[in-house]
């Protein structure tokens, strides 16, 4: 669990604004690294050549991916949400991937800040707030008709809106917790397997081969799975945000 511990860096323990502590921690450092790496990645796409190079092609395929996802889920009105959805998708994706880097070999310990529900919760609340703002901005109080799906029988009117309201209010929690749980579980699983390898090897050569070997092979497979999960969780977050935005934009 040590890998999830937040430690203030550079003696900023007591840095604060209005009584709130804002110490520059390892978490903040990796947020900054994520932002900078993402910015560098995007710089490669700013060459704006008519015939793109590889890097520009990679950047354009990411924007095109988000663009087509929003076009498919929201329609032509979805284009104005591309900056936000792109930012949140790339930020989470880069954070997840950077947190998986095997930098421990060089004595640096990556910190996956998406494994903290404080962070994923803020991101989820941000997405949910945008959904609420867009919904009430575009439809006013008519936005509440979201809780009455088409074809609801009159005699179920006392039940369906309640269920819909609850499922609507659960959205920010499921959005934030899903990412936090997936990232944390993956890292814990890797840590457990690596402790199997180390502890069994320390217990003796036979244990090391019988328990450590299979654990090591499994760990390699789980590493590949974690890279996949890093992409999938970022995608799910962006996809669900765009689906919720579709509700706000088009109601049902």
């Amino acid at each position: 669990m040590h890998q999830f511990t937040i430690e203030p860096l550079f003696g900023t323990d007591h840095l604060s604004i209005a009584g709130y502590n804002i110490a520059f921690t390892n978490s903040a450092l990796w947020m900054a690294i994520t932002a900078v790496v993402l910015w560098v990645f995007m710089l490669g796409g700013m060459k704006r050549q008519l015939v793109p190079g590889r890097w520009q092609m990679a950047v354009e395929s990411m924007t095109g991916f988000i663009d087509s996802m929003l076009a498919a889920n929201i329609g032509p009105a979805g284009r104005k949400y591309v900056p936000y959805i792109f930012s949140i998708f790339m930020f989470i994706l880069f954070a997840n991937l950077l947190g998986l880097l095997p930098l421990g070999l060089f004595g640096i310990h990556p910190f996956t800040f998406t494994s903290h529900f404080t962070v994923t919760g803020v991101l989820a609340i941000m997405s949910f707030s945008i959904v609420l703002i867009v919904g009430f901005w575009r439809h006013g109080l008519h936005f509440f008709s979201l809780f009455v799906p088409h074809g609801t029988p009159i005699w179920l009117m006392w039940l369906i809106p309640v269920i819909e309201l609850i499922s609507f209010l659960v959205r920010p929690f499921s959005l934030g917790l899903r990412l936090f749980v997936a990232m944390m579980a993956g890292h814990v699983l890797l840590e457990v397997l690596s402790s199997f390898v180390i502890d069994s090897a320390n217990a003796g050569a036979a244990y090391g081969v019988l328990i450590g070997g299979p654990s090591f092979i499994l760990m390699i497979a789980i590493c590949a799975l974690e890279v996949l999960v890093a992409g999938i969780q970022a995608y799910v977050f962006a996809l669900l945000t765009s689906l919720y935005l579709n509700d706000a934009e088009n109601l049902h």
Binding site: M1, F4, I22, A23, S27, G45, R48, F91, F117
Partner: protein, 164 residues
């Protein structure tokens, strides 16, 4: 679990730095860079669409020109056909006329020849009559010694020839 154990101590720092870094990502990258990249992609798509449209236009133009050329070739062929047919008709009429003239000439020659033959026959017949009359005169003179004048002999011969 540090996420819960450190929550009270670190939540403000976490939220502050997250808003700062994500704000940078959203405002600088999301709002600053993404629209430009989309613009590049849109411009390229538009250029490709324009090029395709231009190619399509050129193709239609070529098709129209081909159509016009074909129509023109068709017209020329029809014209040529008409000319050859006229020439053929002319030649036929010409040869018909020549043929008719030749026919008339040969018919004329034929009738002239027939007339000559008829004249010759008549003459020959006349000669036969006079020779026969003379012969009859001589035969009568020799056999009976009676003199038969030429007119009687001729009359007798004519009668014999007409009966024979």
């Amino acid at each position: 679990m540090p996420q819960i154990a450190q929550l009270a101590a670190t939540y403000s720092s976490q939220i502050f730095w997250l808003l700062l870094t994500f704000g940078f990502v959203f405002f600088v990258i999301g709002l600053g860079m993404v629209p430009k990249i989309q613009g590049t992609v849109d411009r390229r798509d538009r250029q490709i669409a324009d090029d395709l449209a231009a190619a399509e236009r050129a193709r239609q133009e070529a098709d129209a020109q081909d159509e016009a050329y074909r129509a023109k070739a068709e017209a020329s062929r029809a014209e040529a056909l008409k000319l050859t047919q006229a020439a053929k008709a002319d030649a036929t009429a010409e040869s018909d006329k020549t043929l008719a003239k030749a026919d008339a000439e040969s018919a004329e020659a034929l009738s002239a020849a027939e007339a000559r033959i008829a004249a010759a026959t008549a003459q020959a017949l006349g000669e036969i009559e006079s020779v026969a009359a003379e012969a009859a005169q001589d035969m009568v003179a020799k056999l009976s010694g009676a003199k038969v004048n030429a007119a009687d002999a001729a009359k007798a011969v004519k009668a014999a020839l007409a009966n024979g």
